[in-house]
C-alpha cells in the first residue's frame, strides 16, 4: 500500500491535522480589518456596555470557561491565536465565536489564527455543538475573555512605560500610552500573558456601537479559501502512514447479529487484508456501534469489493418485525388513548363537554435520516497504549469518553481531534463511526479509516422519530376556541439511552408541545406510548418539526373551517402581547425551555406575533396571485428564537415549486448576520426537502431507502429560489438566541399551507411527495 502513497503522505503524522489547526485567513478579511482601523473604540464598565445574564451554559456538562489563558495566546509578532472549541459543520461557529473574542480584545482579525481544540471539556468547558447553543452560550464568555486580555495588555504596557494603567488603552491591535507611546500587541505579548487574569468587575467592555466585527457580517468564514481550493480537511481526508480503510457490513436490523459468515471470497480480493467481527449492541446502547463484519483493506475500493463479497446470514433479533405502515396504524390508535398528561391548564374535559362544536385533525411524519453530504468517517491510530482519533464529530469529548469506555481505556490515553464536519444536523453527535475506527485500530494494530457509504448512512442512522400529532379544539357558540387538546405519539430519543418506557421526555415535550403559546383558557398536552424499533436520534430542530407542522397546519385549517383569514386567525390564537406565565399555564415542572433560565428567555407572544407580521408583510400576504400559486404562513418559537416563514408556492402540472420564502426572525442580539442569513437560507432548503422528500420507511425491520435515488433532496432545479431573511434588530440586552435549527420548523407548514391556498388540497402526511 505504501508504494501507492506519495512521499509527503508517508511522512506522517498528518498533513491534515496541521492544515486544520492553523487556518488560513482569506485576503478579504485582511482588507476589511484595515479599512476599519481608524475608528477608535470606547470602553465602558460592565453595567453600561455589558449587563451579564445567566444562561444554560452553566448547566451543561463541564460548564463554561472564562479563563483567557485557555483560549488566547499572543506571540512576539503580535499574532493572536484563538482556540475554536466548537465543531464547525457549516453554521459558522468556528469563525463567529472566536470573532467575538477578537472584537472585544480590539484585535485585528487578519492577525488572528485559529486552533481547533481537541475534545477536552475539563479544560475548555462544554463542547457539545448541538442545540443551537454556540453563540447563545459563548458570546458572554468570549467578550469577557477578550476584555480580560485587553486589560492584561494595558497593565503590562503600563508597567513597562511606568505609567498609570488607567492611562493606557488598547486601540486596534496596538497599545497606546498617555505620552504618545504606541506599540503593537506583540511588544507586550509575553508580559501580558503573565499578568494575573482580572476579575469580571475590573473589566471594561466595548460599547456595541464600537464593534468592528460583531453585528457587521463582514468577516468571512475562516476556512473559505481552503474549502474553495480543496485544502479543507474533513473526516475522511486525514491520511496517516500505513493507514488502512475499513468498510463494515452492519446488521440490517438494529440488534441483529451475524449467524454465519463466509469470508473467503472477501479475503481473495486483492488489497483486502483482514476481516474482523465487531461486537454488536442492543438498544439502549447510546452511541455504541451496531456491530457487524469489518473488511480491512489497503484502499477504499478493495474494502468495498471485499464487503460486497462477504456472505452473511443475519439473526434479526426482536426488531425484525418493524414495519412502518403497521406502526403508523398503531400510533394512530394510541393517539385516541393518551396515557400521560404533561400540561393540563383549566378544564379541558369541561370545555369539550360545553363546546358548540369541535374540530379534530391528525398529522403524520415518517422517519427521516440526516444525510450530511459527508457520510460518517473517522480515522484512528493505536500506538504504545495511546489512541488518537480524527473525526468529524459534534461533541468530541463525548466521543472521547465513549471510546475510552468502549475500549476499557483511561480517557487520558484517548485524544479526539476534530476535523471539519461535512454537515452534521445531529447525526454527528452520535459518533458510533469513531468508536468503530478506534476498535479496529486497536484490534489490527494499524491506523484505520472507517468509511461509511451513503447506503450505510441512510440505513444505519439515528433516525428522526416517526410521529402522529392529534389536535382537537373545542369552540363555543361564537366560534371562540375554548379548549385545546394535543396528543403526541412518537417513539422517544430516550430509548437510545435508557430502557424504553414508550413515553416522550421533557426535552421532546418542550419542543412545541407543552410550550404551545396560544391564548386559550383550557389546554391539555398529553402523550401515548410508542416503543422504538430502531435507533431514534435528534435531527436539526428535532420534535419542533412535527409539532410546528401540526400546530401551524391546524391553525390554517381552523381558519378555513371558520371562514377566517389565516393570518388573523393565527394572530388571534397567539393573543395579546404577553410573557407566558409558566405556573398559570400549568406547564410541567420540568419544562425544558432549551435549558435556559425562564426569566432570561421567557415565551414572549409579542415577539412571535411581530415576526409573523414581518414575514407576512414582506411576502405581500393578501395580494392576488396567479392561478396555481399560494402563500402560506407559519410561526414557531424554538431554541428560544422566534421565526416566521411566508412561503409562496407554485404548482405547475402537479409539481410543487417554492419560488419565494420570507423569514421574519427574532433571535435576539446577532453576532454574525451574514451567517444567520445563510443558516436561514439553508433551513428553507432543508425544510423543503423534509416537506417533500424525506421519508424513511421500514419493512421487516430494514430501511427501504438507500441512496439519493430513493431518498432524494431538493436540488438546484427546484429549490426556494429567493429566500429573504428579515432580522429584527435587537440590542445586546436582548439575549442572543438559537440560529442553526429554528429556521427549519416553520418552513414545512408554511409550504403545506401555501399548497392548500394554491390548490385547495390539504396535506397532512409528511413527506408530501414532490408532486400532488
Amino acid at each position: 500500500m505504501l508504494s501507492y502513497l506519495p512521499e509527503d503522505l508517508r511522512a506522517g503524522p498528518v498533513r491534515a491535522a496541521e492544515t486544520l489547526a492553523f487556518a488560513t485567513l482569506d485576503r478579504r478579511s485582511v482588507l476589511l480589518g484595515g479599512a476599519a482601523a481608524f475608528a477608535l473604540a470606547a470602553f465602558a464598565r460592565p453595567s453600561a456596555a455589558f449587563e451579564p445574564y445567566p444562561t444554560g451554559a452553566s448547566g451543561m456538562a463541564n460548564g463554561v470557561r472564562t479563563d483567557p489563558l485557555l483560549f488566547v495566546a499572543i506571540d512576539a509578532e503580535g499574532t493572536v491565536t484563538i482556540t475554536a472549541h466548537r465543531s464547525e459543520m457549516g453554521q459558522g461557529s468556528r469563525t463567529s465565536v472566536p470573532m467575538v473574542l477578537a472584537d472585544e480584545l480590539d484585535a485585528d482579525w487578519s492577525r488572528v489564527r485559529l486552533v481547533q481544540a481537541p475534545g477536552d471539556e475539563p479544560k475548555y468547558g462544554n463542547q457539545d455543538t448541538d442545540g443551537s447553543r454556540s453563540l447563545r452560550h459563548h458570546i458572554q464568555p468570549m467578550r469577557q475573555m477578550g476584555a480580560s486580555v485587553r486589560l492584561m495588555l494595558e497593565r503590562a504596557a503600563a508597567k513597562a512605560w511606568g505609567v498609570d494603567p488607567a492611562s493606557v488603552k488598547v486601540a486596534f491591535h496596538r497599545v497606546e500610552g498617555p505620552a504618545g507611546q504606541s506599540a503593537d500587541f506583540g511588544a507586550f505579548a509575553e508580559a501580558a500573558m503573565a499578568e494575573p487574569v482580572p476579575a469580571f468587575e475590573e473589566l471594561a467592555f466595548k460599547d456595541p456601537a464600537d464593534f468592528r466585527y460583531i453585528g457587521k457580517g463582514e468577516v468571512q468564514i475562516a476556512d473559505l479559501r481552503d474549502i474553495t481550493t480543496g485544502a479543507a480537511v474533513y473526516g475522511a481526508d486525514v491520511m496517516l502512514e500505513g493507514m488502512r480503510t475499513a468498510l463494515i457490513a452492519r446488521p440490517p436490523v438494529v440488534g441483529g447479529v451475524p449467524k454465519r459468515v463466509e469470508t473467503a471470497a472477501a479475503l481473495a480480493i486483492p488489497g483486502v487484508e483482514e476481516v474482523v467481527e465487531l461486537k454488536g449492541s442492543i438498544m439502549p446502547a447510546k452511541f455504541a456501534p451496531l456491530g457487524g463484519i469489518a473488511v480491512i483493506a489497503t484502499n477504499t475500493w478493495a474494502a468495498e469489493q471485499g464487503r460486497d463479497a462477504l456472505e452473511i446470514e443475519w439473526e434479526d433479533g426482536p426488531h425484525g418485525g418493524y414495519e412502518s405502515a403497521a406502526y403508523r396504524e398503531e400510533m394512530e390508535a394510541a393517539s385516541l388513548n393518551p396515557d400521560t398528561v404533561f400540561r393540563d391548564q383549566g378544564d379541558v374535559p369541561g370545555a369539550f363537554a360545553a363546546a358548540a362544536r369541535t374540530v379534530e385533525r391528525r398529522y403524520y411524519q415518517a422517519h427521516m435520516a440526516h444525510i450530511p453530504m459527508e457520510p460518517p468517517a473517522a480515522v484512528a491510530r493505536f500506538e504504545d497504549g495511546k489512541l488518537e482519533v480524527w473525526a468529524p464529530v459534534q461533541s468530541p469529548y463525548t466521543t472521547r469518553t465513549d471510546i475510552a469506555e468502549d475500549l476499557g481505556m483511561d480517557p487520558a490515553d484517548v485524544t479526539v481531534h476534530v476535523t471539519l464536519l461535512g454537515g452534521g444536523f445531529g447525526r454527528k453527535s452520535k459518533a458510533d463511526y469513531a468508536t468503530e475506527a478506534a476498535r479496529l485500530a486497536k484490534e489490527t494494530g494499524k491506523p484505520v479509516r472507517v468509511q461509511w457509504t451513503r447506503e450505510d448512512d441512510i440505513r444505519h442512522s439515528f433516525f428522526h422519530t416517526a410521529s402522529v400529532e392529534r389536535i382537537q379544539v373545542a369552540l363555543d357558540a361564537e366560534d371562540k376556541v375554548t379548549g385545546w387538546h394535543h396528543t403526541s405519539v412518537a417513539p422517544s430519543i430516550l430509548s437510545t439511552f435508557a430502557p424504553d418506557g414508550g413515553n416522550q421526555f421533557f426535552i421532546e415535550t418542550g419542543m412545541g408541545h407543552v410550550d404551545m403559546p396560544f391564548d386559550i383558557p383550557n389546554i391539555r398536552c398529553d402523550n401515548a406510548k410508542a416503543l422504538a424499533h430502531t435507533r431514534i436520534g435528534w435531527f436539526r430542530a428535532v420534535s419542533n418539526i412535527p409539532r410546528a407542522w401540526a400546530v401551524q397546519s391546524f391553525a390554517a385549517e381552523l381558519a378555513e373551517e371558520l371562514g377566517r383569514d389565516q393570518k388573523e386567525m393565527l394572530l388571534e390564537l397567539i393573543g395579546p402581547a404577553r410573557v407566558l406565565d409558566v405556573a398559570a399555564s400549568a406547564m410541567p415542572e420540568d419544562f425544558w425551555n432549551y435549558g435556559e433560565v425562564y426569566d432570561e428567555y421567557p415565551i414572549e407572544t409579542g415577539r412571535l406575533a411581530a415576526v409573523l407580521e414581518l414575514a407576512a408583510e414582506k411576502a405581500g400576504w393578501g395580494r392576488s396571485l396567479p392561478e396555481g400559486e399560494g402563500i402560506g404562513l407559519a410561526v414557531h418559537r424554538s431554541f428560544v428564537s422566534y421565526v416566521a416563514a411566508a412561503a409562496r408556492v407554485r404548482v405547475v402540472d402537479g409539481v410543487i415549486r417554492v419560488p419565494e420564502v420570507h423569514f421574519g426572525l427574532d433571535c435576539g442580539f446577532v453576532a454574525n448576520p451574514e451567517r444567520v442569513r445563510s443558516q436561514m437560507e439553508g433551513a428553507a432548503v432543508m425544510g423543503m426537502t423534509a416537506a417533500l422528500h424525506s421519508g424513511i420507511t421500514f419493512e421487516d425491520g430494514r430501511v427501504q431507502q438507500s441512496n439519493f435515488h430513493d431518498y432524494d433532496v431538493v436540488r438546484a432545479d427546484n429549490f426556494p429560489e429567493a429566500v429573504e431573511v428579515h432580522i429584527v434588530e435587537q440590542p445586546f440586552s436582548v439575549h442572543a438566541a438559537g440560529v442553526g435549527e429554528p429556521g427549519v420548523p416553520p418552513i414545512l407548514p408554511a409550504i403545506g399551507n401555501a399548497i392548500f391556498n394554491a390548490t385547495g388540497k390539504r396535506l397532512r402526511d409528511l413527506p408530501l411527495g414532490p408532486t400532488i
Partner: protein
C-alpha cells in the same frame, strides 16, 4: 496493472486495477483529498472532476477509462486557486459546511467554460446533479451567474 494519465498537469502512474473508480484512485492512491465521496452512484456530484475539460463523476469513471487522458481535480483547477468560479464562490460567501463545494465548483467551471453566455435556466439545469445538503443553492446559482457573466 500500471495506468498512466495526466493529473493536474503532471504525468501520474498508478499501479491499480483498471476498474478502480477514479475517485478512489485520486484520493487513496494519488493522495488528493479535495475530491469528495458523497454517494458512489453518480447521484450527488460531490466527486466531480474534469476529464479532458469535461465534468465527470469520478465515482463512476474508472481509472482505466482515463488512461492517457487529462484529469483535473479541485487542487489543479487553477494554480493559485483563483479561477473565476473560485473567486465568485468567495465573493458570494457560498459555502456552509463546504463538503460538496469542490464538486460544485468543478461542475460550474466546466459548465461556463462550455457556455460562456449561459442563461439562468441553463445554470439551474446544469447544476441540478450537484447536491448541497446545507442548502447553498441560492448563492451557488448567483456565483455561477457572476463567474460566467460578471453580473
Amino acid at each position: 496493472m500500471s495506468i498512466t494519465f495526466t493529473l493536474n498537469g503532471a504525468a501520474q502512474t498508478l499501479d491499480a486495477p483498471a476498474e478502480m473508480p477514479l475517485l478512489w484512485a485520486v484520493r487513496d492512491l494519488a493522495g488528493l483529498t479535495g475530491t469528495k465521496y458523497g454517494c458512489g452512484a453518480g447521484l450527488c456530484g460531490a466527486c466531480t472532476v474534469h476529464v479532458d475539460g469535461e465534468a465527470v463523476r469520478s465515482c463512476l469513471a474508472t481509472l482505466g477509462e482515463v488512461e492517457g487522458r487529462s484529469v483535473t481535480t479541485i487542487e489543479g483547477l487553477d494554480p493559485e486557486g483563483e479561477h473565476p468560479v473560485q473567486q465568485a464562490w468567495r465573493e458570494f460567501n457560498v459555502p456552509q459546511c463546504g463538503f460538496c463545494q469542490a464538486g460544485q465548483i468543478m461542475q460550474a467551471a466546466a459548465l461556463i467554460s462550455a457556455k460562456p453566455d449561459i442563461t439562468d435556466d441553463e445554470i439551474l439545469a446544469g447544476m441540478e446533479g450537484n447536491v448541497c445538503r446545507c442548502g447553498c443553492y441560492q448563492r451557488i446559482v448567483a456565483a455561477v451567474r457572476h463567474a460566467a457573466t460578471g453580473i
